[in-house]
Amino acid sequence: MEFFVNNILITVLLPLWVVLTIISGVFFKYAENRKLTALLTLFSTFIGMIFALCILKYTHSTLTAPVETNYLWFGFQNINFYLGTYTDKISSVFLAILMIISFIVQLYSYGYMKNKEDFNRYFVYLNLFNFSMTGLILSTNLLQMYVFWELVGVISYLLVGFYYKKEDVSLSAKKVFIINRIGDCAFLLGIIMLSYFSIFILNISDGSFLMFSSSNTFLKEVSESAYPVIWNIILLLLIIGAIVKSAQFPFQQWLIEAMKAPSPVSALIHSATMVCMGIFLIIRIYPLLTPYILKLIIIIGLITALFNAFIAISQNNIKKMLAYSTSSQLGFMFTALGLGFLPIAIIYLVIHSFTKALLFLNAGQIEMICNTLNMNETPPLRKYNINLAILWLISALSLSGLFFGGFNSKELLLNSLHNSGNNIILFLILLTSFFSAFYIFKAYFFIFETDFGNKNITVEKDFKITSAMMLMSVFVILPGFIFKLSNLNLLCAISVIIGIIAVFNAYICAKSNKIFLPAFLLKLSCKELYIPEIYNFISSVFLKFTKLFFYIEKFIFDFISEITAKIIQKISLIISRIQNGNIQSYISYSLFTTGVIFMILVLSYIFMRGV
């Protein structure tokens, strides 16, 4: 078992090898066929999966302390920065999620991309994503985490812009990258401030100031020092990075724009793995957080959860609704983290990842069949493909917390909330669960049961796609029987009843094609709380502001150069009029000058003599 932990670097580097193989294959044209690409990718992910599962078992049973290896990257004076691997319980859980979902999504993609072009480029990106994500999960310190954090953002940008020939995809990819960049910028500033703070103020000089393993000793030193404001600012910057990456309240726009990516990409990146990295960061730096920051996390989590669920109930685009749903569920996890329930947050994350991934894969299949992502335009798919319906139902039941895995996680969350006495938060969570159940079942009824006229479908069965989705559903159903329930009581019953009422509401809504909300609330929800408009407004203000500098450049600096040149030209034109060809004028000028010089000499001589 130790073999797997000691050689964990293989999981990081194997996808890179596959990338190089694919690229050289395309370049030298010896292995351009798609089968080899897909098989190599699946093989590397499979090896990674085996590693991850063995490490998971090992860390949860016999391992006592985390295994850490560090390689020096660069350094100066006595400050060194490292890259390395850090294996403990948390990273093994995330690694397992990544590898399993990645394997299933790659299997699905093999079937999904079968008839599309740019197959090799897609799998190159998927492998690079595996590489960066593994590096991120196994990182030992904040700087390495930042490195792979940005790399994951870049891969996500490249994958969102995969269909680059379309104009709106190009624009969305830009927005995704720039909004992610804002978070990265704050994160980097936080790292720099943290380095300064620990080296110069706290005088830690052994180079371990960014390491996760030294977090516990760090906290003691922090609490002994008297710099609460700076410490809170540093933590705030790091948390902003996490908030942006996990698409929490002001920054969820990038996740909505990222839905232009192919559906398997959405399943992999934007629901299950990359967006959970904000939560991962907070878990890693948890011993450092102060009560203020924790309160902030709770508030942002709650706002996100409630508002995004509220927006999702009126969306008609399937993937957009799922994106808002992802953001909302992540808000749940943030709330749990802020209250201190780390194991609950992790369990919720595990279950949510599989559930949401299955929903996105389902959405991809729906798009392939009906050629549309609008739930109003799909024919009643239950008649054509009962598999999809069953799978959607399974994941819907899990997402709304009625059955399977979601039930366990929601019940854990509600019980801990009640036991710790946060009843307002409990109420808000219940309200949001009502919305969650409502929108996911509304989607079910709209897609699979109702018929609004569009009969244009192409039915094709692909074994890989179906098998991938079945495999994923196993992972959705299984946690329901693995994770033990804590306490079946009245609270669970209330939440189940709320869920059933929401399902009923959804059924009525689907039948009458109308949502029962006051008109202005409905408008707010449809317009996504006007957040895209606010983003457009901010960016247009920014562009106008920078245009000022462009005008300064054009009208001041260019003007100065032009004016200098013109003035000198004019002066030279004026002076050159002296030379007019008339010799008599030359004679008079020379005599005049001679006279002047002579006068100066004589006067100065007289003056000197006089003095």
Binding site: S576, Q579, N580, G581, N582, I583, Q584, S585, I587, S588
Partner: protein, 104 residues
């Protein structure tokens, strides 16, 4: 009458010089320019001779120099006449304001 001193001769030479100069720069006929140059030369001659005379003939270099100036001015006007004749043959004009080839 009063005594005629060196100063009077110098002032005469000055007036003569400036007359020649003003005529030089304002005359339109090129031959007139030559004549005015001659007037300036004679003013300079007068200057030298006046200095020699009124300093009691101690340094005769002034006289010698006056002789040189006269000789050379004669030569110079001979060459100038030839040049003006050639310009006249080329450009058909005697007006100095029409000869303005050297300009910037």
């Amino acid at each position: 009458m009063f005594n005629i001193t060196l100063l009077h001769y110098l002032i005469l030479a000055l007036i003569l010089f400036f007359t020649g100069f003003i005529g030089l720069i304002t005359s339109k006929n090129t031959i007139k320019i030559l004549i005015f140059i001659e007037i300036m030369m004679s003013a300079i001659n007068l200057n030298f001779i006046a200095f020699t005379t009124f300093k009691n003939y101690i340094f005769l270099t002034g006289m010698v120099f006056a002789v040189f100036i006269t000789a050379i001015s004669a030569l110079q006007s001979a060459i100038a006449i030839v040049l003006i004749y050639l310009i006249y043959k080329n450009k058909e004009t005697m007006k100095s304001e029409e000869i303005e080839e050297i300009k910037g």
